[in-house]
């Protein structure tokens, strides 16, 4: 059993109103000095069997076609040991 993590973030140039809302709440709670908050998504994919290069390529394909929208988002794929 292998676990692969896909992190999806809005591209830096895309406005993130959710992150801004979180950032706006921080000073109200007494947390100072946070100049920016960006909110993303984390997907944990559990695969059966060993992680071959082929399977990893498949995960990247899933990340690119389903989990993220390349127009507005970037993603990273990390294999958990």
């Amino acid at each position: 059993m292998t676990r692969v993590v896909v992190d999806v973030m809005l591209k830096p140039e895309i406005l993130d109103p959710q992150g801004k809302a979180v950032q706006g709440a921080l000073p109200r709670l007494g947390f100072e000095g946070f100049t920016e908050v960006r909110q993303g998504k984390r997907f944990e994919l559990t695969l059966d069997g060993d992680l071959t290069e082929e399977r990893l390529a498949e995960v990247r394909s899933v990340a690119e076609t389903v989990l993220s929208n390349p127009v507005i988002e970037d993603f990273t794929v990390t294999v958990e040991q």
Binding site: L10, I14, L15, P17, Q18, K20, A21, V66, L67, N69, V71, I72
Partner: protein, 229 residues
Amino acid sequence: MTAAGTRIGVVTFPGSLDDVDALRAVRLAGAEPVALWHGDHDLQGVDAVVLPGGFSYGDYLRCGAIARFAPVMSEVVEAADGGLPVLGICNGFQILCESHLLPGALIRNDHQRFTCRDQRLVIENASTVWTTSYTAGQQILVPLKNGEGGYVAAKETLDELEAEGRVVARYLGSDPNGSARGIAGISNPRGNVVGLMPHPEHAVEDLCGPGTDGLGFFTSVLQSVLARG
């Protein structure tokens, strides 16, 4: 073919809210409304398709992202590539972008609030199959209601849309959701696929809504289909 013989389909997804209004708009325009189902690989031979507003599949992941893979969408994408008129309203616009039938994407409103108001628009392109009942430069008033209606695209894409006259409608007055260049609706290069964030189907009768300015989208496609024969 007669007006009454023209069949315009409206897809119902799990979570669609405005499918019944869209079907009603089709009928008021003089065409025959046909209810289509997201789970069917079948467009029932309709002459045009409307993807209505509301939500779809909970809009988990991103708005329209899962609806893009609905069984009916493979038929819609194929037919749209072949020239079938397709109008996506609100969530339908989001689905068209996720399906890559239209460029760009729709993100959360920049002011972080849901917007619901009557919105003035200017029709900039009156030559798409969905806008021939209007004149270029005509101002219309239709409802707008969205939480994720901010249209974004790469600068080159926006320039291309403008240069090719593919900005179908633009917001007048203050930008209601942070859309790039005030864009309210766009079309594909051929002009048969149009995505629109505001809701023309809610402005088709004097009894409710801010007037009948929205009916033109539905009479336009009816005329286009009839002219094609």
